[in-house]
């Protein structure tokens, strides 16, 4: 990726300035309560990894943070600005919150450069030549400079996901949300995407990552959030969490991975 790759370990928990503050976030789909009072702070440069069983609400949590899901109650603050009041200009907030999806969601009718430039040029009204230079340098950093004029259907899953990450990054977001971004990838392509994310983490980008890649979670996270049934059950430093989880539910959850890993061998 770049020279910051050689720095030892992740940036180490951020520098304290708070980027995101979530209080008592509640979200239901009909009768079903998906998020049951989530409170969480994320500081500048911190890498937060959210894990937990399917349906525990982790993806919904991310989607609430950029307004793709309206919340029922609670409060979200982005750099001191409450973004959950009625009348919030989500188009403006979303420029500050980058999102990468499980299924890439590149725009199939635009080539790689077109995908990456849509936000900076149309939304942020940046000058095209300058935005293009920026985009190309990002593409180069993720190893895709030569695919700038390719269309999404000509790319592998791993390449598509790297483009999707660049598409979010060129907006210069204050925080990046990754929603199970390797879950749809063939195993041999997972690594290339995780490497990009690890590089970003080491550069000090503030990130919230929802993933089932436990080894990656341990390597990249400053803090692990374990969620179950819409609530945060446990949060701790990665080594502590993976070696001796405090809660019974986290232990059981990690055991499932143990088991499946043993079976695979």
């Amino acid at each position: 990726m770049n020279d910051t790759d050689n720095q030892p370990g992740p940036a180490g928990g951020g520098n304290g300035a708070r980027v995101l503050r979530i209080r008592d976030l509640v979200k239901s789909f009909g009768e079903r309560r998906i998020l049951d009072g989530i409170s969480l702070d994320v500081s500048q440069g911190e890498v937060l990894v959210v894990i937990g069983p399917s349906g525990c609400g982790k993806s919904t949590l991310l989607r609430c943070l950029n307004g793709l899901e309206p919340i029922d109650s609670g409060e979200i603050e982005l750099k001191g600005e409450v973004i959950t009041r009625p009348g919030t200009d989500w188009n403006r907030v979303r420029q500050r919150v980058g999102m990468v999806f499980q299924n890439y969601e590149l725009f199939p009718h635009l080539n790689v450069l077109g995908n990456v430039l849509l936000g900076p040029v149309k939304v942020q009204r940046r000058k095209r030549p300058e935005a293009e230079r920026d985009a190309l340098s990002w593409l180069e950093r993720v190893g895709l400079a030569d695919r700038a004029s390719s269309f999404p259907r000509q790319l592998s899953g791993g390449q598509k996901q790297r483009v999707a990450i660049v598409r979010a990054l060129t907006m210069s977001p204050e925080i990046m949300l990754f929603d199970e971004v390797t879950a749809s990838l063939d195993p041999e392509m997972v690594r290339e995407v995780l490497d990009v994310m690890l590089g970003l983490a080491r550069q000090g980008l503030t990130m919230i990552i929802v993933t089932h890649e436990m080894a990656f979670a341990r390597a990249v996270a400053d803090r692990i959030i374990f969620m179950d049934e819409g609530a945060i059950v446990e949060q701790s430093a990665p080594d502590g969490f993976f070696e001796s989880p405090e809660s019974e539910r986290a232990r059981r959850f990690l055991n499932i991975f143990e088991f499946s890993e043993k079976r695979r061998e």
Partner: protein, 218 residues
């Protein structure tokens, strides 16, 4: 086969063909605009417009063009609205075509996945930008085969224009048939339609290939 007759009549057919083409062009162009508006009214669930669009589509699709023209040309003057034959033709074709085009666009719009829209929203695109840069291009690519088929259908529908006293191809052929020379007239009629519609068909085939190329599949 009377070649002299064919040669003598060729300019007449050319003039009528040109009239047919120009009326069809305007009818198709306006159909596209009307169809897109009607489809968008449905897509965005615009309160009253959405119902109006639905009613319009049913009305236009379920009545023959000939009856619609009859109404415009012979019915409206009784209400004090006098329209020229050409105007009637273009309005009639647009009224009919708009409904089919609306259905074509609707098919395209519903084919654009919710997750694509979310991806656009996540970049901070507003509603207009989202429509223009994400939804419409993809919807159009899906709708193009139906749009092309509809355009060709509309070109053929022009053959009823003679009832509003327009000297189009059909009108001319009927005129000539009265004077005998039925084989030649019929042949030239068929040829004329072929000559104007075949290039359009080929153009659309090319367009469809382009649309397929532009997109789609993973």
């Amino acid at each position: 086969m009377d070649l002299d007759f064919v040669i003598a009549c060729a300019p007449l057919f050319a003039a009528s063909a040109w009239l047919t083409v120009s009326l069809a062009f305007w009818g198709i162009a306006l159909s596209l605009a009307l169809g897109l508006l009607a489809a968008l009214a449905g897509y965005y669930r615009v309160p009253i417009l959405r119902r109006a669009a639905g009613a319009y589509i049913e009305l236009a699709r379920n009545t023959p063009l000939m009856i619609q023209l009859f109404f415009l040309y012979y019915g409206l003057p009784r209400l004090g609205i006098l329209l020229e034959g050409r105007t009637c033709a273009v309005i009639g074709l647009t009224f009919l075509g708009g409904a089919y085009m609306a259905e074509a666009f609707r098919g395209g719009l519903t084919a654009v996945g919710r997750t694509q829209i979310e991806a656009g929203l996540s970049l901070g695109l507003n509603r207009v930008q989202l429509l223009r840069h994400v939804i419409l291009p993809q919807a159009l690519a899906v709708a193009i085969p139906v749009i092309c088929a509809t355009a060709i259908f509309l070109m053929k529908e022009t053959s009823v224009f003679s009832i509003v006293a327009l000297p189009d191809l059909m009108y001319l052929a009927k005129d000539l048939l009265k004077e005998g020379h039925s084989t030649e007239s019929n042949l030239m009629l068929v040829l004329s339609y072929l000559v104007i519609i075949l290039p359009v068909s080929l153009l659309f085939a090319w367009l469809e290939r382009r649309a397929r190329f532009a997109g789609f599949g993973s």
